[in-house]
């Protein structure tokens, strides 16, 4: 039987990676919904009402699974990582409590109105609820990324007690909130989420365009998605650069692992792609000579701190994994910029929607931001090992003392089965929803929609 540490790490990694499929989609979709419903309010065109209502239903599906898998995360801190909970409770706990009070409560209360209130409240109040749900989802990302960032770059704390009784306590609340990495990491995460949501919208729209269904509706959807995506993709370049900069300053070992850089006295190249041989401490691949030196120091000939500067027991072991994940993220990021810019140019020249090949690419491109978000986190979290709180608490010291490997094996198998079922159902229902498409108002093609039409005909799910 594997050790409790390995099993607990696998369980946490698996449950959080699975959970992280959903919140970015909700956040990005939330923003798209605000824009769509805003356009409906502004223009009064029932076209926008139809697409808003369609995406609300998709949103409900995604949001529901996000909530259900998110509660698991909160409880796992206590069940599997009791020592960690005690160690960081003073700090992490307050961020989590603030997330609940300021974000989740707002999000879920207004979600009720968003999903079921279409006939209960007037258009303005409904739109307000949509905005509050979108804002709530952004706030929840804010608090949870702050908590995670504190673990990457602890600030505004002091250590009390010794050994197993040791814990970090707050000395300066604002210093803790605005620790060196929280702003950069939050902006990077939130824009990654906007990309995830907007690419989902564009993917579904592109698929309809290919099938020649709901053509007007899907073009409108696509434009909303593209508007969000092109700005987000370009901004991600900036936030990504800022994030790399904080890593170089506060977690040099992580940056060195990301680029497979070992020797502190040498100039560091930037790899386009490559392979790290951690045993022989050698990295090979296509590179820009001095690229990393330039990124960190603004000079192509300055040496950069390498992995060897950190003792082996204090630096990440899975160097090649960190390297690959980081590079996949970068490659996808660049691809997204290229794709969205190309689409904007074609749209401007009124040639976008008849490019079949591009629509096929966009239909599949929904996977790209998903993968980038996932692998970006893998690089960030594996890259800071062996620490759970950077340079303060080791992952191996953070476990629950009384939990046995049998228990963790039981829960790991349980979650694996349940999540497999959940994912299958999710994909099935999402596909069904997409196949069904938006319910079209009779007057959607042209005229003004002044009042609510109850013309949802032949809806198989409603008996």
């Amino acid at each position: 039987m594997p050790s409790v540490e390995i099993l607990s790490r696998i369980q946490f990694a698996f449950t959080i990676a699975f959970h992280y499929i959903y919140p970015p989609l909700s956040i990005g979709l939330g923003l798209c919904l605000v824009i769509m419903e805003g356009l409906y309010l502004k223009t009064g065109l029932s076209l926008y009402k139809d697409i808003t209502r369609f995406w609300i239903k998709v949103f409900a599906l995604i949001f529901g699974i996000g909530v259900a898998t998110g509660i698991v995360m909160e409880f796992e801190f206590g069940t599997n990582w009791a020592t960690y909970s005690h160690y960081v409770g003073d700090i992490f706990g307050s961020a989590l409590a603030a997330e609940g009070i300021f974000a989740f409560a707002m999000e879920s209360a207004f979600l009720g109105v968003l999903l079921f209130g279409w006939n209960r409240v007037n258009k303005g109040v409904h739109f307000f609820s949509t905005c509050m749900v979108a804002l709530g989802s952004i706030f929840s990302a804010l608090w949870i990324v702050i908590a995670n960032s504190w673990q990457q770059t602890p600030a505004g704390y002091k250590i009390e007690g010794h050994d197993m009784q040791a814990r970090a306590v707050v000395t300066d609340f604002w210093e803790m909130i605005f620790n060196p990495s929280s702003v950069d990491r939050f902006s990077h995460v939130i824009i990654g989420s906007f990309l995830a949501g907007s690419f989902l919208v564009m993917s579904v729209a592109a698929w309809y365009i290919l099938k020649q269904r709901f053509v007007k509706h899907s073009q409108a959807m696509f434009k909303v998605g593209l508007g969000v995506a092109v700005i987000a993709a370009l901004m991600q370049l900036f936030t990504g650069h800022r994030s790399a900069h904080y890593v170089s300053k506060y977690q040099p070992a992580k940056l060195a692992a990301m680029e497979g850089h070992y020797d502190s006295s040498s100039v560091a190249p930037m790899y386009i792609m490559g392979w790290v041989d951690n045993k022989n401490q050698k990295t090979t691949g296509i590179k820009i000579p001095g690229g990393l030196s330039f990124l960190v120091h603004g000079s192509f000939s300055a040496p950069v701190e390498g992995l060897r500067a950190t003792p082996e027991k204090d630096r990440p072991g899975a160097v090649n994994f960190v390297f690959q994940m980081y590079h996949i993220m970068i490659t996808i990021g660049m691809t997204l910029i290229g794709l969205t810019l190309l689409a904007v140019i074609l749209l401007w020249r009124k040639k976008l929607f008849n490019q079949r090949w591009l629509m096929i690419i966009f239909a599949w491109a929904v996977l790209l931001p998903q993968i980038a978000n996932q692998v970006g986190w893998y690089a960030a979290e594996v890259g800071r090992q062996p620490w759970v709180v950077y340079k303060l608490l080791r992952t191996s010291d953070a476990l629950s003392r009384k939990v046995t490997s049998d228990q963790v094996m039981f829960s790991l198998i349980l979650f694996t089965l349940v999540y497999m079922l959940l994912f299958t159902l999710f994909i099935y229902l999402l596909t069904r929803k997409i196949h069904h498409g938006p319910d079209i108002s009779e007057n959607a093609e042209s005229d003004f929609d002044g009042y609510y039409h109850d013309n949802i005909t032949h809806h198989p799910s409603k008996i």
Partner: protein, 344 residues
């Protein structure tokens, strides 16, 4: 130690967490109870109606669990770790049940097939009931106390949790939530479904009164530490007396078909029972049956004074906002439930 209005900070935070758990019990209690009752309704339309009665609000209710969990993590990190890792298996099953409940509500209406709907109906009732029973089981064990050594390590095993007292508390919780849920549903429905529910409410109230009496007796006989405060503070006898009076009031209002008042009283009795539990625990939060000296008190478990103060401020700003959202939500969906094309 620093005090605010005569109470020290750990006590304040004990009250905040108690308040949040009470809020969770009062709010999610009725939709969990509605879930446990779900299979008693036979017609498709009835099932849709009772599901949509909680449709817009259940998610907001469940948030109180997340907030209470976060507050416990923040205020008493030691307890958070000890309690959750001690009840490892029950909490894992609880989490899986939460997932199944969420998806049952969400997925049920997505296909018209009979087997599909039946499957999710069963999953909904089973998971709602499992959540309630597991919460009750954990609560029962916390009231009863746990075998804990000096290092706050649990020395029992999985079977330790299934003692008769904890099982009784689990069923009392179930009966309370079922009554609470039935009263909520009867308020939200009309016509034949309403008539059927009036019968269910009556049966639930009998079930609850039975459990209430058994629990009271068992607690007095087997869990003497729960009543230790009463010796020094005889004025606390108001609480059990109040609980009995409220219970009689619920019965009276049910008989008079004043369901809104009955619902308010069933909210109050949920709060009252949790307050009794809190009074019995204080100033401890986890009781050791091995040696009372090994119990975890709120003072040993609390976060730093500075952190508690910051979070008290967060709670003071946030709670009125949360209550405001909840009022807005419940006000929007007031009155009898009607089905439309956005319903489940």
């Amino acid at each position: 130690m620093e005090t605010i209005l005569g109470l020290d900070l750990p006590t304040w935070w004990f009250l905040v967490i108690g308040g949040l758990i009470t809020g969770y019990g009062v709010l999610d209690g009725f939709d969990l109870g509605a879930g446990s009752l779900h299979l008693f309704f036979n017609k498709e339309e009835s099932r849709r109606l009772v599901l949509n009665a909680i449709g817009p609000v259940w998610d907001g209710n469940e948030v109180w669990l997340v907030i209470a969990g976060g507050a416990l993590f923040a205020g008493f990190p030691l307890v958070y770790g000890v309690v959750l890792s001690t009840f490892y298996v029950p909490f894992m099953l609880f989490l899986v049940a939460l997932i199944f409940r969420a998806i049952s509500i969400e997925f049920r209406s997505k296909e018209p097939w009979l087997w599909w709907r039946k499957m999710w109906d069963i999953s909904y009732t089973v998971s709602s009931t499992a959540i309630t029973l597991l919460l009750g089981l954990v609560l029962g064990n916390l009231i009863h106390g746990l075998p804990m050594n000096k290092e706050h390590e649990f020395t029992g095993n999985l079977l330790t949790f299934f003692n008769p007292y904890a099982i009784l508390i689990a069923f009392t919780t179930l009966s309370l939530f079922m009554l609470h849920g039935a009263i909520y549903l009867v308020m939200k429905t009309e016509n034949r479904l309403y008539t059927k529910l009036t019968v269910i409410v009556n049966n639930c109230s009998k079930f609850f009164i039975l459990c209430f009496i058994l629990t009271s007796m068992a607690t007095l006989i087997y869990v003497p530490h729960m009543t230790h405060q009463f010796k020094n503070h005889p004025e606390l006898f108001v609480l059990p007396l109040g609980a009995v009076l409220i219970l009689l009031n619920i019965k009276r209002n049910i008989d008079a078909r004043k369901y809104f008042t009955a619902f308010l009283f069933s909210c109050i009795i949920t709060a009252c029972l949790l307050i009794l539990f809190a009074v019995g625990l204080y100033p401890n939060i986890v009781i050791s049956t091995t040696d009372p000296a090994y119990s975890i008190s709120i003072y040993a478990a609390a976060s730093s004074v500075k952190s508690l103060k910051i979070m008290l401020l967060i709670a003071a700003i946030g709670t009125p906002m949360v209550i405001g959202y909840m009022i807005f939500l419940f006000w929007t969906f007031r009155g009898k439930v009607k089905l439309n094309e956005m319903s489940y």
